[in-house]
């Protein structure tokens, strides 16, 4: 009698004993080990897909940008005040697009950070359990709506509304897009901030209450400072999200490059510019084609910078609770 390995199941007949049994088991062990090692390798390959993705992103952006920068000097890219890449007399001043990204992000964060923080404090320190269980998923819905629909909302509802208040407002403007972006980003800020606050141990709150503090005093003087690194991370996430947003701006802010910080005008951002070019004809290897990669590289560097900042902040101020 011997062992059979039919369809992976190991059936060891009972008659085998002693040295023969050990030998049989050793044979099975070798086969299983080989199979296991193969499986581990396949799984490792899967895990490497993410590394591959990052490398591919960097490679593609760099490759096309290098071609771009062989034509356009980096200095003029950074300092030119016009962005007219598809004209005969082409100018490539990224500052124009950056102004749009900056003004739209500022408007959005002006809404998202205060409201997000207030909501987080309220849900964490004031609301009772049942209210929190109801409100949290509802807030998450805000971040679940596809951004194209937010863009639609900004253009066709918010802009007319704003035009009632300020009749001179152009149809495409940064303000409208920025406001809607802000509302969309609220859950990112509030959810992470709230998690950070809930992680603050009850013993700190008890220490504060034991000194005769009110709920508001405890929340603002003890809990929020204690959750600082988590709240900072939440803010950084909000900033990243605002900088990388595309469709709301593409639909509602117009895609006209405009060097201004005035949100009452239309402007293009780095992201909406890429969309605009992609909507047109993009012959491989043309100037337009390379420009979007240079713009994309700039965007990636900015978001990377914020990610690193968030990482560093977390490292430095991480409270061990």
């Amino acid at each position: 009698m011997s062992a059979s390995t039919t369809s992976g199941r190991i059936v060891i007949a009972e008659r085998l004993t002693g040295a023969a049994r050990l030998a049989e088991l050793a044979k099975i062990k070798v086969a299983r080990k080989r199979k296991d090692r193969m499986i581990e390798f396949v799984l490792l390959l899967a895990a490497c897909v993410s590394v591959f993705t990052t490398l591919a992103i960097v490679y593609i952006l760099l490759k096309e940008s290098l071609v771009f920068f062989s034509d356009v000097p980096v200095w003029s890219f950074l300092t030119d005040t016009q962005w007219t890449p598809l004209f005969d007399d082409a100018h490539f001043g990224i500052a124009v697009l950056l102004s749009g990204t900056l003004s739209s992000s500022l408007v959005a964060l002006f809404i998202a950070i205060p409201l997000g923080t207030i909501i987080a404090i309220y849900l964490s320190e004031f609301a009772n359990h049942r209210l929190r269980e109801v409100l949290k998923p509802v807030l998450e819905l805000l971040s679940g709506v596809p951004t194209i629909i937010y863009g639609f909302f900004a253009l066709l509802v918010i802009t007319p509304l704003l035009q009632e208040i300020y009749p001179g407002l152009p149809t495409f403007n940064i303000l409208s897009a920025g406001l809607v972006m802000g509302i969309m980003i609220i859950p990112y800020v509030s959810s992470l901030s709230e998690d950070a606050m809930r992680a603050v141990p009850m013993s700190l709150r008890e220490g504060s209450y034991a000194m005769g503090a009110t709920r508001f005093q405890t929340a603002t003087r003890v809990v929020v400072p204690a959750a600082f690194s988590g709240i900072a991370s939440a803010y950084i996430l909000g900033i990243s999200r605002a900088v990388g947003e595309t469709m709301i701006l593409a639909v509602a802010a117009g895609m006209q490059p405009n060097l201004t910080l005035n949100p009452l005008e239309p402007a293009a951002t780095i992201t909406s510019f890429i969309v605009q070019v992609a909507l047109g004809d993009l012959p491989h290897g043309s100037v337009g084609y390379q420009t979007i990669f240079a713009a994309g590289l700039t965007l990636l560097l900015i978001t990377l910078m914020f990610n690193l900042l968030g990482h560093w902040l977390r490292r430095k101020y991480r409270e061990a609770y």
């Binding site: 009772n128 141990p201 013993s203 700190l204 709150r205 008890e206 220490g207 504060s208 209450y209 034991a210 000194m211 005769g212 503090a213 009110t214 005093q217 003087r221 003890v222 400072p225 204690a226 600082f228 409270e319």
Partner: protein, 264 residues
């Protein structure tokens, strides 16, 4: 079973008294009929095995239970000399906590500077005058026997201090507001023996200014530090008396069993 209370002969002044106190966590009855005197400027210790209700009883004194849903007080805790029942619904727990402070089992300094930690109770009261705060903070840190160690680093974070120092800081924080009673909830169980010794010494020093109620699972500590001891078991107070008497000749068999370590 009724508790055995032996009041002291030398008529000290009564600071507070619990009268037939029951306490419920939801449907669970955690305290039954606890009646006990707390004498002014004396140290009263609560001892008993885990889960006997001593921390639960302590936390009634500063209405800590109010922070959590499902709590119910039945009975009174009277505070003198104004005869107010601090468990009454009409009494604001915040006001109670401004008169009765607490030091916790695990030191819980706020993530703020040493100065701000001690000044917290005063700031919460609306005190803004910098010179006033500085004076009170220094007085509290001196009373907590830690002034010398921190006077040159008042703006550093309190979390950089050692465990024993943090606990003395928390005691200073409690002292800064001139409370009438300080509640100590197993204040040394998270500390090493040397730090424990310094805290016990401190308790002996500050009892002249403030009434102290201390929960401890360490009988020797209770014997060293307190004037009166209450032995609790399963939510009831079994015996109360002068410390020496309780430890040398307890009147109840249950007390003797606990003290001699027959169970614990």
């Amino acid at each position: 079973m009724p508790s055995t209370i032996t009041l002291p002969d030398d008529a000290p002044v009564l600071k507070a008294q619990s009268k037939n106190l029951d306490f419920y966590y939801g449907a669970f009855k955690a305290l039954t009929g606890v009646t006990m005197p707390i004498y002014e400027n004396r140290v009263t210790a609560l001892i008993g095995p885990s889960g006997c209700g001593k921390s639960t009883y302590l936390r009634c004194f500063n209405r800590m239970h109010d922070l959590y849903p499902g709590h119910r007080y039945d009975g009174k805790i009277e505070l003198y000399p104004d005869d107010v029942d601090i468990l009454d619904h009409a009494v604001d727990p915040i006001e109670v906590r401004m008169r009765i402070s607490m030091v916790f089992q695990k030191p819980n300094p706020f993530p703020k500077s040493i100065f701000e930690n001690v000044a917290y109770g005063l700031r919460v009261r609306g005190e803004k005058s910098v010179s006033y705060l500085e004076d009170k903070v220094e007085a509290a840190l001196r009373a907590a026997a830690i002034w010398g160690e921190v006077k040159d680093r008042m703006s550093e974070s309190a979390t950089n201090l050692s465990g024993g120092q943090q606990q003395r800081l928390c005691i200073a924080r409690s002292l800064a507001t001139d409370p009438e009673i300080i509640l100590f909830d197993e204040p040394t169980s998270a500390l090493d023996p040397i730090a424990t010794g310094s805290i016990e010494e401190l308790i002996g020093e500050i009892k002249n200014k403030v009434t102290i109620l201390i929960v401890t699972h360490n009988m020797q500590q209770a014997a060293r530090v307190s004037d009166y001891v209450a032995y609790m078991y399963l939510g009831e107070m079994v015996e109360y008396g002068v410390t020496k008497d309780i430890f040398m000749k307890p009147k109840r068999q249950e007390t003797e069993d606990y003290i001699t370590g027959r169970f614990g």
